[in-house]
């Protein structure tokens, strides 16, 4: 079956995007990517810590992945733009996940600043995937500003609480023509499958895999759940009847009138 996810003209082979934060050891990351069959992988940017330089993250990423740096740490559009430009300088491509968070209590994204950042970065040729609070008007403005996909949150970052924003995300899936990728909040494979059954184009999972007892096994489970959910969505819902047989038919008048002779 012809079911391709295309973002900014590029075909993406997997609908499970993986975050690389919170892993105990970078050496787990290539195994996780392989087990999940993931292609898009997010990374972050930070100042070099001279006391503890550690290893080079890039050494652990397979050659065929699409690296999507995020702008975590940005509290404004200007900071997000600055981080995105630095990210591109690493030579890992044009993809960027815009993440502007000025709320330190719930870590909810700032849609307003995000829209401004998208507008600037899209003009500079970035493939911009904004992390956002699922608000329809904000999403429409993001589309107009040049976003390549829309990434609403299912629940606040790192909470593993599932798709608490279900109704709002469903509206985005119905109304937005770009891929809608559920980012943040997905804590279990069943929730990833739920997002895919709703019609999400992909999901982005980090904490749920990184903090599992066995991250590699969990990555595989998520990969299977995403495929199953997508398959269910494509298969279409069964024809359960919502409505009972009518006690008083609304179209009976048509039969009556036809007898009279039309």
């Amino acid at each position: 079956m012809d079911d391709k996810l295309v973002i900014a003209g590029r075909q993406v082979t997997s609908r499970l995007f993986i975050g690389t934060g919170k892993f105990a050891d970078y050496s787990l990351i290539p195994q996780v990517i392989k087990a999940a069959k993931a292609q898009v992988v997010t990374v972050a940017l930070r100042r070099v810590d001279f006391d503890n330089p550690g290893e080079n993250m890039l050494d652990y990423l397979p050659k065929d992945v699409i690296i999507m740096p995020n702008t975590s740490g940005a509290r404004s559009a200007a900071e997000a733009v600055r981080i995105a430009r630095i990210a591109r300088e690493t030579g890992c491509g044009d993809w960027v996940k815009i993440e502007v968070i000025s709320d330190q209590k719930y870590l909810l994204p700032d849609n307003f600043e995000t829209i401004i950042a998208i507008e600037i970065l899209a003009k500079e040729g970035f493939v911009v995937l904004p992390y956002m609070s699922p608000d329809l008007m904000a999403a429409k403005r993001m589309v107009d500003a040049g976003a390549a996909a829309i990434m609403p949150l299912g629940a606040p970052i790192g909470t593993n609480r599932g798709i608490k924003t279900r109704e709002l995300v469903q509206i985005l899936i119905s109304e937005i023509d770009l891929p809608v990728i559920v980012d943040a909040g997905i804590g279990r494979p069943s929730e990833a499958a739920e997002a895919m059954e709703m019609g999400a184009a992909a999901v982005l999972v980090n904490t749920a895999i990184a903090t599992a007892e066995n991250p590699v096994l969990m990555a595989k489970a998520f990969g299977q759940a995403v495929e199953a959910g997508r398959g269910a969505y494509l298969a279409g819902p069964g024809a359960t009847r919502h409505f009972a047989e009518a006690s008083s038919p609304l179209t009976g008048f048509l039969r009556r009138e036809e007898k009279v002779g039309q």
Partner: protein, 381 residues
Amino acid sequence: MTFYDEIVRLGGMDLAGFLERVTPSHVTNVLAKSDLQSQDFLALLSPQAAPFLEDMAQAAHRLTLQHFGRTILLYTPLYLSNYCVNQCVYCGFNATNTIERRKLTLAEVELEAKAIAETGLQHLLILTGESRQHSPISYIRDCVSVLRRYFSSISIEIYPLSADEYADLIAAGVDGLTIYQEAYEEKVYSLLHPKGPKRDYRFRLEAPERGGQAGIRAINIGPLLGLHEWRSEVFKAGVHAAYLQNRFPDIEISVSFPRMRPQFGDYRPGFPVSDRDLVQSILALRLFLPRAGITISTRERKELRDNLVKLGVTKMSAGSSTAIGGHTDARDSIGQFEISDRRSVDEMRRGIAHLGYKPILKDWHDLGREGKKVCQTTPIS
């Protein structure tokens, strides 16, 4: 990108083939969905959906109650002028028809306004033929400034305008735009409109979005049923409405289903639409676009209109006359088409109430420009 691009895309698709291939289980699957895509809408317009009409009616009834409650908005048309330079082969105002041509003076407009306002109606639809000589924008603007003293909502159904001209009339007090494409199939459209500015299919097709850009509050579109094969025409009108809803989320979008009526002249519709076809069209549109307005005019007879109230209709005309000065002048002048439902506004109000619905005379009050958005960031195009 405009809706014309979308029409071109639809033109390249095999709609007839799709309609043929629809299966009964396809229809039941669509009926189980809560969010319909355009191909689902087309499936509901197929012959194979006809046996499911009652199921569709129950679902449409439920959705309409959910979004509109038990209400029917009433409005009436006011014909300002029947001068026309077009030769639409199906229309009583056709430039080649030898009928008495007239336009209302501002004093006559005021008399008509008073007569209509006395019935309690607050929503008015003003119409003219297409003649920039006899009914220019300035004339319409002058009429509107008289009428706005009597009505809370004034819609126009006139020749297509530029965005600037729409903005001009909006500033004068117009809040609604009604414009029917008549025939969405461009080849058919060309045949039906042999002469005059109306020949420009694209300028007419894009008129609703120009009105949207100009800041209109409500848009009402539709195909003229009977001119061409109804399934594809209703499909394209529905996709047009969906396009407008998507592009202008803050504008109230409605669809009308006018059926060809006998009029002065000898044109007879080549593609008659039965009551059953009309009902299927209305139901399919309601399921496709749960929050779109659906308008039925007095072209349809009383008994049918009463039955349509529960099937998704949200607006009806009342106390209509399609003749110039018809609200005050007893003379039997020739109208654009014949009226079927001749009930007075009062009788309509009682009739709707009798069906358990509330007739609405006013759902909009213009506060001037006060309601304009104060914060503009990235505009939605």
